[in-house]
């Protein structure tokens, strides 16, 4: 039953993405060009990568709003190190933010497990703490002096095509990052024991506890995983922009949560898929891209984003109600959920 519902969400979402794409192409033929599509996939790779982490946290029944601060701290420390030492190695730059992300995620995981307080409250606190400390120490200074290989790496493409105007374009290396991490997350959720445990904990925490699962280990893993992805995404973000501004990422957490929820994940936990999340990110990216192509005022972004979140959450709440009505009767459904 649940499986069918999830499939449905993905199909709806795919239909919306297709309809929206057709509409935007009619409005502005530039939309449906390979160039714009590749750009879209490149520019949203940050969003896509962290959304995978948020997906796992949501499946486990938690929520994390602090990953933007984690990504910022991780990329800032990386920026300071590589701009001071000018070590000419992308691999090193890539490896710096990961342990930082995992460490900050581990703090979240421990706090969530130990206090048993709603993770929103915990992660709002750590968001303010991580970000506040970073802004206090860095004083908001931007970093834009990077070693040459760091700059060259951003231009790497998987393959290159020529546009009709003779401008080369192609699939960015960062889109590949996103795809690989998506595949890893998919395998982790579907085929590894830890993945099934995450679904179990999110579906019914008490049942999972009584079944003998180590809840602490699972929650720690989940928050470390989003920390790790935030670290990688921090690297990707720095590469994409060739600049590190401490205030560039914080504030994007809502977009990411919206993407995961649009994709069928639920704040009640226990449901959500990698494919759905990918479509959720794509939908948000298309809406934003479309608003720009249609030259709509930037002020409308928030109105539309807010409406999408409320609408998507309402649909999933309604589906949940229907399911409960089938299982427990109308009265319980109307009053309790």
């Amino acid at each position: 039953m649940k499986f069918q519902m999830r499939r449905q969400t993905e199909l709806y979402l795919l239909a919306i993405v297709v309809v929206l794409s057709i509409f935007l192409t009619v409005m502005n033929p530039k939309f449906l060009t390979l160039e714009n599509l590749f750009d879209l996939l490149r520019n949203n790779s940050f969003l896509g990568i962290v959304a995978l982490g948020e997906l796992i946290v949501l499946i486990s029944g938690g929520i994390d709003v602090s990953f933007t601060a984690t990504a910022t701290v991780a990329q800032y420390i990386m920026g300071v190190i590589i701009s001071r030492t000018m070590v000419n190695s992308v691999l090193l730059a890539f490896l710096i933010p990961i342990p930082i992300g995992i460490a900050l995620g581990a703090i979240n995981g421990c706090l969530v497990y130990y206090t048993r307080v709603n993770p929103v409250i915990i992660t709002i606190s750590t968001l303010n703490f991580y970000y506040g400390v970073l802004m206090f120490i860095s004083k908001g200074t931007w970093i834009y002096k990077f070693p040459p290989t760091f700059r060259e790496f951003a231009k790497l493409k998987l393959f290159t095509l020529m546009s009709s105007k003779g401008v080369p374009f192609g699939v960015s290396i960062f889109t590949l990052f996103w795809v690989i991490l998506g595949i890893i997350t998919f395998f982790l959720l579907k085929y590894l024991p830890i993945g099934r445990k995450i679904y179990a904990v999110g579906g019914n925490l008490e049942a999972a506890r009584r079944a003998g699962f180590n809840i602490f280990r699972i929650q720690l893993f989940v928050y470390c995983y989003i920390g790790l992805l935030a670290g990688v995404a921090g690297f990707v973000h720095a590469e994409l922009n060739q600049m590190i501004q401490p205030n560039a990422i914080v504030g994007m957490e809502l977009d990411v949560i919206a993407a995961a929820i649009l994709g069928g994940a639920s704040v009640f936990g226990g449901v959500g898929t990698v494919g759905g999340t990918f479509l959720g990110v794509l939908l948000i990216a298309i809406v934003k891209n479309g608003l720009i192509l249609m030259k709509a005022s930037a002020y409308w972004h928030e109105v539309i984003m807010g409406s999408i979140i409320v609408l998507a959450a309402s649909i999933s709440a309604y589906q949940r109600k229907l399911q409960i009505r089938r299982e427990k009767g109308r009265f319980v459904e109307e009053q309790l959920f």
Binding site: L111, Y114, N118, A258, A317, E334
Partner: protein
């Protein structure tokens, strides 16, 4: 927490808060070399406290019900903007009382929207109010295009900056609403149902309570209080903008948790909230006097909230 011992636990918590307040007052006056206890600082506290206090009262209802309202600041800002437009552009001849009426009506309307999604559609409060927060702030941005609307008539400025027999008007408003909330939560059927719902919705349902009505009213009340807070905020700043006071959101949650509202719902009293609001305002004013940057302050608020949550877990289990 709604067990036999809950009142005792609550009393101990409030006593602990009073001691904490005394300790912080001492520490802060020491750190600021007595500046905190000078008359100007105390006045500043009395003028700044009502805004935080009213917003915290707005956050309290949803948190007691086991939810949270992330959209109170956005609501307050939109209400301020509508009041500002009414006073400066559309109906300048109708003066402040009309604008306030209009603003409070808008806050009730927004409360009905929130109540609709949380109570009737059953969207989890966190997500519903998150989406509505973005939506409402978006509407404010579309209306103002990011600009500040400033320059209100003098009778409106009286709310945030005037005094009545030496007491700031806004402080009197806060005190009145604190008493109102106290009576509503501890002396009425609605209050009892709200606490019951927060601690155990299933048991509440089977005691014959209409859960949906309780939740709907909670968000209506919360929005209305955000509307009242908005009058104080707009008047105090003499301006309205789409993103004023966003740092208050964390502070309201912190004030509730510190004041004894369990984040899972069902407990918390107005007295505890009031003491915790005073504590936070004293600390905030202390931070100001010490010249802390807003970022350092928000980092400290984050760590304090975590500290309180951990402390509660250690002491009260």
């Amino acid at each position: 927490m709604w067990k036999n011992s809950s009142f005792k636990v609550g009393d101990i918590q409030i006593m602990a808060l009073v001691f904490l307040l005394a300790g912080l007052l001492l520490l802060m006056s020491f750190l600021t070399r007595g500046k905190l206890l000078e008359i100007q600082s105390l006045q500043a506290i009395a003028f700044q406290l009502p805004l935080l206090g009213l917003l915290t009262l707005a956050q309290m209802g949803p948190m007691v019900s086991g939810g949270i309202d992330l959209s109170i600041i956005a609501t307050a800002n939109l209400v301020s903007i509508i009041m500002a437009l009414s006073m400066t552009r559309f109906f300048p001849s109708l003066h402040a009382p009309f604008a306030i009426l209009l603003g409070l009506l808008l806050s009730l309307l927004l409360g009905m929207v929130k109540g609709f999604f949380v109570a009737l559609v059953s969207v989890p409060a966190i997500i519903a109010t998150l989406g509505l927060m973005i939506f409402i702030r978006g509407v404010s941005l579309v209306i103002t295009r990011g600009y500040v609307i400033a320059g209100f008539p003098r009778d409106f400025l009286f709310i945030g900056n005037g005094t009545v027999v030496g007491i700031p008007t806004s402080f009197i408003i806060f005190a009145a609403f604190a008493i109102f909330m106290y009576i509503l939560l501890s002396r009425t059927r609605f209050g009892l149902e709200l606490y019951l719902f927060g601690s155990n919705p299933v048991a509440t349902l089977f005691s014959g309570v209409d859960n949906r009505k309780v939740v709907f009213r909670t968000y209506l009340l919360s929005s209305f209080l955000a509307g009242v807070a908005s009058c104080v905020m707009a008047s105090r700043f003499n301006a309205a903008q789409a993103d004023y006071g966003e740092s208050y959101l964390l502070l309201t949650v912190l004030a509730c948790v510190l004041g004894g509202v369990s984040p899972s719902g069902g407990s918390g009293r107005v007295l505890g909230i009031t003491v915790s609001v005073i504590i936070l305002q004293v600390v905030a004013t202390g931070f100001n006097l010490l010249g802390f940057s807003s970022h350092l302050a928000s980092a400290l608020w984050g760590i304090i909230l975590l500290g309180v949550v951990l402390f509660n877990r250690l002491v009260f289990g």
